[in-house]
Symmetry: C2
Subunit: 155 residues, 2 copies
DNA sequence: CCTTGACCTCAACTTTACTTGAGGTTTTAT
DNA sequence: ATAAAACCTCAAGTAAAGTTGAGGTCAAGG
């Protein structure tokens, strides 16, 4: 549990330190790196060393995930940052605004779905062609949840 | 594509007919059956035969899925019906009311998340300990989305 | 020195919800 | 009667987001 304090040289962080401070597992950091979400340099002994900024980087990733954004989309968004730099406040503002729009859309979809459900509770027809709860061609499918709750594509 | 009209004897449906009418793939019906979500009898030649009610059964499953309910929960809910009978309007009313509550909770969680996001867009701190967007211990995590967007457990 | 604890790689496993394919049988239509 | 369409089973593949394990290396304290 307790992370042993390394010597003062905290200019770069080890994977364990990042994991502890960012609140994720070491394996997750490995995984993120394999997906191009974060970067690291290596020590002489081939161990990962991270710049302090990686903590913020991970923070952005986790925040986006809580918004329901798939990692692939997050990776894409982060790759739009110059030099793969650590997201600045301005970057975060831009990214979060973009993701907020998706969140809004999802909320709207769920609310529409709920409204239909209210009607369908009394109705009970569930017709493939006519029931808005069933019909995937109506507005709900345009932005709503479903089997593909959080669509991976940008369509 | 076009489903050839079978002879008048539509007392029981073949898997292809059910697939066409319910709007799902044949493989999906096999899969649902393997999960105990639907049932079938067999013809002399070992082919699946479904009662008409299976269409409604599939309708309920699909509707629940659109609400974001995982198949395992749907299976559990359906198994609470006497004899695994086809859901009646009353059954659907009960089930959909239950699922509506989950939907409401999810919407509330997303809205709370959005509100926090609004604040965080200007803030940008994303502190692991203090930022509500990051902190999994706050109210959002109690009912909200996240990595585990639609929780599988009943907790 | 030498034992831990932290780290390394790579492969395989987990879950959900299905789809795809191979190899073989049944039904239906002509 | 026969050919085509539909069906059968079972195994394996897919995608997302990681986790777990095996086998081996690195670093720091006593």
């Amino acid at each position: 549990m307790a992370q042993k304090a390394k010597k003062g040289a905290t200019q770069s962080l080890s994977v364990g330190e990042v994991a502890a401070r960012a609140g994720v597992a070491v394996s997750t950091l490995h995984f993120y790196e394999s997906k191009g979400l974060i970067e690291s340099t290596r020590s002489e002994g081939n161990q990962r060393r991270y710049a302090r900024g990686v903590l913020r980087h991970v923070a952005v990733i986790k925040a986006a995930q809580r918004l329901g954004i798939p990692l692939a989309s997050i990776a894409e968004a982060l790759s739009s940052l110059p030099d793969g730099r650590t997201p600045t406040a301005a970057d975060w503002k831009r990214l979060s605004a973009r993701w907020k729009a998706e969140l809004d859309a999802r909320i709207a979809g769920l609310i529409a779905l709920r409204d239909h459900l209210d009607g369908c509770i009394g109705c009970g027809c569930l017709s493939v062609a006519a029931c808005p709860l069933r019909n995937p061609d109506d507005i709900l499918a345009k932005q709503g949840p479903g089997a593909h709750l959080f669509r991976r594509d940008g369509s």
